[in-house]
Amino acid sequence: MYDDVLTLNELYGLKLRKLYHSYGYKHKTMSRFEDYDFYAKHKDFLTSQNILTFTDINGRLMALRPDITLSMIRTGITGKYYYDEKVYRLKGKSENINVNGGHGSSRWCEISQSGIECIGGLIVEDITQVTRLALLSLREISGGKNYALDVADAGTARSLIPQINRANILKCIQDKNIDGLKELNAPQELLHMASIDGDVASGLHYLSDECRQVITALNDPHIRIDFSALSNLTYYNGLVLKGYIEGIPHAVLYGGQYDEMLRELGHNGVRGMGFAVYMGNIGGIVGD
């Protein structure tokens, strides 16, 4: 009805809201301004270690929210929620941020995200549903183009990546830099894992039983098993998701399971999984 006045991002945002609502997710709104202390204490979980701060009228040091999931976990809520929110991050090569590219000098960016969080006593069916919603989200915003959902298991990666040189090894896996992994004397098993190029049949071996059940149940041709989808191994511990749309040069969807982060933050026995669609990345289709 409002197609002629909505921007493309607003239109996609509404489509996604409708999708998440239809799966029983409730809308959640959160404040953009939060206590700095919380993020300072849990910097390891952030994509960018820098936080945009300001002092409120009472002299309290505040932060412009850098991450939705952390913000939601902080409140201690459980359940299934969707959101349209903004996060504030430093973008630039010094931070090596994987959002909108990382070349050029660093600058603060407001990033629009639409996504879901599923927090509570998650069972395999919940993880399957979140992954299905990631696929459906990509379909909704693809505009008829092809799309792909890369999945990996952060648990397997954690167990295979040695502590020594961990950050460099992870970077090589993310960049499919097999020569770099060899230079770092990465174990053979890790080389095999990093070489998996989307093929589900050969990739299943590197997934936990639970992740394997999810991927097998979905049996979707858009799913690729590819460990270059790994991101912060402190943040994610199970299934990791990274979504692409043909013609858009950057990933448009990031997500995964964060059970251990919940435990670290004092929520014992609670599991969580979610993803965010980076709305700002959707616009940049490159012509052929």
Binding site: H103, D150, C172, D175, K176, G198, Y244, I245, P249
Partner: protein, 208 residues
């Protein structure tokens, strides 16, 4: 269509030869002149010359699906791309160099002239040495000679230019060579063609 970003200059010429031997020819690419874009209609491929420092930008932003960039440039700019293959072409070393006999005895920040400020900061950061980075765009060897800096961080191939300017290598920071890189998204949707390129290039690379 597969779009290929090629680095202008000596490395680009070597890569052109490599592509040609791998069966990827582009009409007129070896004829000189100012043309920047070349097609191979039969293979549905297009390649274009860009500045070596810009290859990563073109690939990261998806204008090029694949490209060829020196490891020095990838380390410096850190584009978010797949680094699919190390090539034999463009082998050299990233070095710190100073005037012959130079010893770093000063307590003040070491003045380092370089085209690679991030690599220089990372290297000296690991050494725990404060530095004052002086960014230059070429003719690096002249900086210590004229007293602009104590040290340079630059790519060294044979070392002849250093020797002719009374400089010597103080430390080898890393070995570098050309890399075959790909846009992360393009790799998902044009993977078959990109992997075929890798296979053909690898054949020549292994025999280099």
């Amino acid at each position: 269509m597969i779009n290929i970003a090629l680095p202008k200059g000596r490395l680009g010429e070597k890569i052109c030869g490599l592509l040609s031997r791998a069966g990827y020819d582009f009409d007129g690419i070896n004829e000189g002149g100012r043309r920047l874009v070349f097609m191979n209609e039969a293979l549905n491929m297009r390649c274009f010359w860009v500045k070596p420092f810009d290859v990563g930008v073109y690939v990261e932003r998806g204008v090029a699906d694949v490209g060829f960039a020196g490891k020095d440039i990838l380390m410096e700019c850190q584009p978010d791309v797949y680094e699919l293959m190390r090539l034999e072409a463009g082998k050299c070393r990233m070095c710190a160099a100073g005037m012959k006999g130079f010893r770093d005895m000063s307590e003040r920040p070491l003045r380092v002239a370089t085209e690679f400020p991030n690599i220089a900061r990372e290297y000296y950061g690991r050494m725990g040495r404060d530095i004052d980075v002086i960014e230059l765009r070429g003719s690096m060897e002249i900086a210590p000679l004229l007293g602009l800096s104590e040290v340079i961080v630059d790519v060294v191939e044979s070392g002849t230019t250093l020797r002719e300017n009374e400089l010597e290598v103080i430390a080898v920071i890393c070995e570098i060579s050309a890399r075959f890189i790909a846009n992360k998204s393009a790799y998902k949707f044009k993977g078959e063609a990109i992997r075929e390129m890798m296979r053909r290039i690898a054949h020549d690379n292994d025999n280099a």
